[in-house]
């Protein structure tokens, strides 16, 4: 009896596997049939994108979001005062226009009166006041609130540390459709900042009625943007974005639906693309060789820059500007981006990335105008090196190199160490490769010699990069200090704050100083290599905030 049962079980299982396999095959076989010629007219194209997400969305609470995916889906489902357009310029959002006071400290935004929340409530100035207060309220425990608003909006830091009351935050509603913001310092890029997730409005009544459950599922979210989330919970691995019909500009939105599924493995993702399941996929370095000749291969530049930080406080050799200049010039960056990264990343010879901001009033890219300030040049490097060694009175230097421990990081670390040791005689580099979290701890403690680090912008202004190296700045952590540099940046945020042309003069000069001092050694500016289906059109890649903008996207027919 038992014997029969076990045989039957086995047989049943094997059979069911084959049956399922066949039915699976049947389903897949149907798909190519759809690609017939009946989709002649463009209007007939199904307005759907099928996409992958690298992970779950950990937070849809604008005050709490800190990661790429949170900001991505907040950007798609909500709208702040402004929204970045195709040229990454702030375009009309909930605000129609704004005016800035003489002293540059008071910004008054005129809000549109036809903007609605998903539940029909109007979007008013009070929603912004509530949301911004919530973001800096210490009880909220927001990370980006104090970071993005501190030093920008009046009293933000004081409110966060409990030294000022919530009502003292420099944001007030003047009636339902006028928002008055008082700033700590004149901030010329403030309107671009308002496109960022942390500055989105919140419907107080709704948020408070949801209590702790707010923003943990579709039911506990309230959209006011072009799309809304469907079938989402905070642990969901599949969800959809569907068009939000109550959005004030719904007429512009053509895309009906985007489906998302979580897949982390790059090889799996690319196979799903080949299978036709998804319309866009990111390629890791090892996959680029295989797919760089693919018809759908696309490279999109990003605005994150990677560099070596030189800690001047621990190793006396690195306190010497000639030694630093030598190291900064001694490695071949072109080979690094071509051979190791191999994903469209480009060599960086400065700090402010390419295609990030233009010199005000011109079409000239900041990077191009500023030029190559720290380029690869072995001869120059060796000249600096000998001079540096002479000044130090030694013929050998030992340096610890702190880098990441991912596969690509390890290869880059070894390559850089090897380049430096080969080109700079007498230099000995020891590698220390640690996980990201640990690297941050070592950075904070300034317990390293050279560190492989990077930075992505938080708003559209060179200040987001250049302010990193202000003396004793929160992210300096390498003992760099130059009075002239500090002064130039300080001016740009105070006396010159309303003169954008002059500010950019200062930025250009400051960046020159930074590299005369060889404070850091720029390596590369990241790009992403992707396969994008030809039917995907009008997806903009933002330089900061939400990575993709879908408001103006649509699916087109492909012949």
């Amino acid at each position: 009896m038992k014997r029969k049962l076990s045989w039957l079980l086995t047989l049943g299982l094997v059979l069911s596997m084959f049956l399922a396999a066949c039915s699976g095959g049947g389903d897949d076989a149907e798909q190519p049939a759809d690609e017939g010629k009946d989709q002649a007219a463009e209007e007939n194209v199904e307005q759907v994108f099928n996409l992958l997400n690298g992970d779950t969305i950990p937070s849809m609470d604008p005050s709490m979001a800190t990661d790429e995916y949170g900001f991505q889906f907040l950007g798609a489902t909500m709208e702040g005062l402004y929204r970045l357009d195709a040229n990454a310029e702030p375009a009309e959002g909930i605000a129609k226009t704004h005016s800035v006071s003489e002293d540059g400290l008071t910004w008054t935004f005129e809000l549109r009166e036809d903007a609605k929340w998903e539940n029909g409530d109007p979007v008013t100035a009070h929603d912004f006041v509530y949301a911004w207060q919530r973001a800096v309220n210490p009880d909220t425990g927001s990370e980006y609130g104090p970071y993005m608003m501190g030093g920008v909006i009046k009293n933000a830091t004081q409110v966060n540390t409990g030294e000022a009351a919530l009502e003292d935050l420099g944001v007030k509603a003047d009636g339902d459709y006028k928002l008055v913001v008082e700033l700590e310092n004149p901030t010329p890029y403030f309107h671009s900042l308002t496109t960022f997730g942390t500055f989105l409005p919140l419907n107080q009544k709704f948020v408070e009625s949801q209590g702790d459950n707010f923003a943990t599922s579709t039911e506990t979210l309230l959209a006011n943007g072009p799309f809304k989330l469907e079938n989402w919970t905070s642990t969901a691995s599949q969800w959809n974005l569907v068009k939000n019909e109550t959005y004030w500009d719904a007429a512009t939105v053509e895309l009906e639906k985007m489906t998302y599924q979580v897949s982390k493995d790059p090889t799996t993702a690319v196979r799903l693309y080949e299978e036709g399941t998804v319309d866009r996929v990111g390629l890791s370095s090892d996959l680029v060789d295989q797919y760089s000749t693919h018809d759908d291969y696309v490279i999109t530049p990003e605005t994150s820059v990677f560099y070596l930080k030189f800690n001047q406080t621990r190793n006396e050799a690195l306190a010497n500007v000639n030694i630093r200049s030598a190291i900064a010039r001694a490695f071949n960056k072109q080979d690094l981006v071509d051979e190791i990264l191999n994903n469209g990343s480009i060599v960086a010879d400065g700090l402010v990335p390419a295609d990030f901001v233009n010199i005000p009033g011109t079409e000239n890219d900041f990077r191009e105008t500023s030029g190559a300030l720290s380029a690869h040049n072995v001869e120059e490097a060796q000249a600096f090196w000998e001079k540096g060694l002479e000044e130090l009175g030694t013929d050998s230097v030992e340096i610890e190199f702190l880098g990441g421990d991912t596969e690509t990081s390890k290869v880059m670390n070894e390559y850089l160490a090897n380049q430096l040791q080969t080109n700079l005689p007498g230099l000995k580099v020891t590698l220390k490769q640690v996980p990201f979290e640990q690297r941050l701890d070592l950075d904070t403690a300034m317990d390293y010699d050279i560190q492989f680090a990077g930075w992505g912008p938080d708003y559209l202004d060179p200040y987001t990069f250049l302010s990193l190296w202000i003396t004793d700045g929160g992210n300096n952590k390498m003992g760099y200090s130059n009075a002239k540099y500090d002064e130039l940046l300080n001016e740009s945020a105070t006396t010159l704050a309303r003169d954008n042309d002059a500010r950019y003069e200062n930025f250009l000069e400051a960046e020159k100083i930074l590299f005369e001092d060889a404070a850091i050694a720029p390596i590369y500016q990241r790009a992403m290599a992707q396969l994008v289906a030809p039917k995907v059109e009008g997806v903009f890649v933002n330089p900061f905030g939400a990575t993709y903008e879908y408001k103006w996207s649509k699916a087109v027919s492909v012949e």
């Binding site: 076989a29 779950t56 104090p146 966060n160 943990t216 642990t235 196979r271 938080d458």
Partner: protein, 309 residues
């Protein structure tokens, strides 16, 4: 018997307590904090946030608080998923892992037993050698190689099954096969070794002498006895299969617990780390207890020994 079970339950409780304590302190040794924008915040801002989550208390205080919550069945709120209770995360993620794990266990052990049995019956013949080779390959080749291969051949090349993702039964087939390879090899090895031994024991000779036919000898007298050691390894194997495989879940994009566990460690999501560890531990000690009790059912000798005590 009741006293025996009660005593075992008490041991189980002690074990869980020790596991909870050790992992709590080990976890606190992890570098970093649950903050995501750590590199962007000032010390003061960090303190304010850590204060809110009770992470500024001395570690022993945090420990006592945590145990207090645990006693009341409260695993806490995840740091990584805003306002989501850890129990929700576990409930959400254990399902897919358990389904794949269970299917792999059934398919793997059944095929393994068949393989082992065939090998033992046709000992030293070509069938034996080929089954040994399969078993050795199954143990020594890591499952992600199989997974990648299966995905490439069955899904990409021949289009028989979906490449990855989760939803319908057809999505579970490839991961199940990939995960079943290892238990299959283990089961085959154990079954063969034991069967060879059992078939040479005296009572089999007696059975043959009595004129029991060959299939009766193999199925009734042989296999049943040969399976006892297999039961021992199946328990822990079942737990490790059902609590998810990071690699398989990554490759087939399955929203399982194994993958979630690794992520929570990476981002210092303390409550989720603890919750997952404790759930794994609970399953392990629970299964071991069940297996110990099951022995008596399978092998009367063990039951007898217990009775004599």
């Amino acid at each position: 018997m009741t006293r025996y079970i009660l005593r075992r339950l008490w041991y189980m409780f002690i074990t869980l307590f020790i596991i909870a304590s050790v992992s709590f302190f080990l976890m606190k040794l992890l570098p970093g904090s649950p903050l995501n924008a750590e590199d962007k915040l000032s010390e003061q801002q960090k303190t304010i946030i850590l204060e809110k989550y009770g992470l500024n208390d001395p570690v022993p205080v945090q420990y006592v608080k945590y145990l207090g919550g645990l006693v009341q069945g409260d695993l806490g709120i995840s740091f990584a998923f805003d306002n989501t209770p850890v129990t929700d995360i576990l409930a959400d993620r254990i399902g897919p892992s358990a389904i794949i794990g269970f299917q792999a266990l059934i398919v793997g052990t059944l095929l393994g037993i068949l393989l082992g049995l065939t090998a033992s019956i046709f000992r030293n013949g070509p069938l034996d050698y080929s089954s040994t080779i399969i078993a050795v390959l199954g143990t020594s080749i890591p499952s992600f190689v199989f997974a990648g291969l299966l995905q490439y051949l069955l899904a990409v090349k021949w289009g028989l099954l979906p490449v990855a993702l989760w939803g319908e039964f057809k999505h579970t087939i490839l991961p199940t096969i990939a995960l079943a390879i290892h238990p299959m090899a283990t089961a085959a090895r154990f079954t063969r070794t034991e069967m060879v031994e059992v078939l040479h024991s005296n009572y089999i000779t007696t059975a043959r002498a009595k004129g029991v036919n060959e299939s009766g000898i193999i199925w009734k007298h042989g296999l049943r006895n040969a399976l006892i050691p297999l039961v021992t390894v199946t328990g822990p194997m079942a737990v490790s299969l059902m609590t998810g495989s990071l690699v398989i879940e990554q490759i087939f994009a399955i929203p399982g617990i194994g993958e979630q566990f690794v992520k929570s460690v990476m981002v210092n999501d303390y409550p989720t780390i603890m919750g997952t560890t404790l759930m794994f531990a609970f399953l392990f000690v629970g299964i071991i207890l069940v297996i110990d009790l099951l022995y008596g059912l399978i092998d009367p000798r063990i039951r007898l020994a217990g009775g004599n005590k």
